[in-house]
Amino acid sequence: MAETTASRDTTTLHARDLDAAITGIEDRLAAWAADTGTALAALSGKVTGTAVDKLIRPVVEDLVRTPDGYVAGAGFLANAGLLGPERSYIAWWQGQELEHVDALANFSPNSISRHVKSEWFRIPVETGQAHVTGPYVDFLCTDEYVLTFTHPVFCRADGPVVGIVGMDVTVQRLERGAMPALRRIGERATLVNPDGRAIVSAAPDIAAGDLAAAAEGCSVHPVGRTFRIWSGATAL
């Protein structure tokens, strides 16, 4: 795929819009994680489920009700040790109506283990780094095809991970935001995750969820911490 320098510059410009949108989500999440850590530290060891709910819910409300926002659901999952030894706690809401997600899990060790063992919790806790899970079909919350952005929460800079904050972004919403830029970049431009799995593609034969490959000679643009745009992609 031969491209002139001029078209590469235009491509970079359009890719930058999408990068700004995803980076915006990641930055907002990082800021929320920092605020949550500070607020939890201020509770000085007396952390209860009710206190966590009070802290998290207003932020989720703000996130999911932002006009043209990307966030379909968001919340917090406590690591063992914050509310008690061997105890976790989920404070997660989704949708305009702020549905409380899987709140009964807080009364059942078996149910909470589902969340604690999931990729979106385990990886930020183990690495101390932000992580994006998916896209995957979310059987627990939205029943939609989603990406879950998660970030570890620390009460002290050198302390343990006390929990994670996370945001669910549906592929549908991302598609509406990404398609104008992808169309301008090229008719086979594709937004992919680090595994090379398509999230949104302008090509008719590449659907969200398909594995794709970068076409020879195509340009590659970073989007957020881990995604890429390939100016041309082929279906595998």
């Binding site: 997660w92 997600v101 589902r114 990729e119 998916g134 079909v137 398909d210």
Partner: protein, 239 residues
């Protein structure tokens, strides 16, 4: 939120999403009945979790107590518990089978085959190495108990839907599994069925891993047919 092979049942998780409207007490009763595999929180906790009033939660618990589905113990270690005889059992499953006609069983089987085959076909196109490790985790050994087997089979097919990455197909599969109810426990009590099925589960996984769409569809259809055939054979014994 993503599930892992080590986690508990996914279909059970759907039970714990808050309720919209429609006959609140009935809806709460339904949720509690579906939650039989876990314990129950108290009225106040239940009300908060489901987003209904304590009065509604209490009324639903009372209704279930009258129906003999839960029993309530008082005192220090008290609380509401699911009555032992309503846990998925062979007797309850046989009752359910007796209420169905052969036409209903075979039609349900056809629908289940169509959805499962569609999932398997797309999964064969989209699978990666991590998907395959998760899928194979759900293949039980023939020695495991029937309740474990029933859960593993349902989780295996849900994982196929997860690998297909189609939200609509996944939702349809969950709905079909709810329609089948405890019926699927019956064949799992038969060691011959468990042996045959282990082979079929491996065939499905191999085909999906090898990106062989037609083979994956055929194997998953055979898997569903094994269940339907077993149920039809059992049902015919009534006559």
């Amino acid at each position: 939120m993503l599930l892992t092979p080590q986690g508990a049942s996914r279909s059970l998780a759907a039970v714990f999403t808050p309720i919209k409207s429609r006959g609140l007490v009935d809806e709460v009763c339904g949720r509690i009945e579906q939650a039989v595999e876990t314990g129950l929180p108290n009225e106040t906790e239940l009300a908060a979790a489901l987003g209904v009033s304590a009065v509604t939660a209490r009324e639903a618990l009372a209704q279930l107590r009258t129906a003999g589905i839960i029993r309530t113990a008082r005192g220090r270690s008290g609380g509401s518990f699911i009555a032992d005889d309503v846990l998925p059992s062979r007797e309850r499953a046989l009752d359910q089978l007796r209420e169905l006609t052969r036409l209903q069983i075979s039609d349900l089987g056809l629908h289940y085959q169509a959805i499962a085959a569609a999932c398997a076909g797309v999964a064969a196109r989209r699978s990666d190495a991590a998907d395959m490790a998760t899928l194979r985790y759900f293949i039980p050994t023939a020695e495991e108990d029937p309740l474990h087997w029933r859960l593993a089979l349902s989780e295996f097919l849900l994982e196929v839907a997860a690998i297909a990455r189609s939200a609509r197909l996944a939702r349809e599969l969950i709905r079909l599994q709810a329609d089948l109810g405890t019926l699927t426990l019956l064949p799992c009590t038969d060691s011959g069925y468990r042996g045959r099925t282990t082979g079929l589960l491996k065939e499905v996984a191999d085909a999906i891993g090898a990106h062989q769409q037609a083979a994956a569809e055929a194997a998953v259809k055979a898997l569903v047919a094994a269940t339907t055939d077993w149920l039809l054979t059992e049902q015919s014994k009534r006559y």
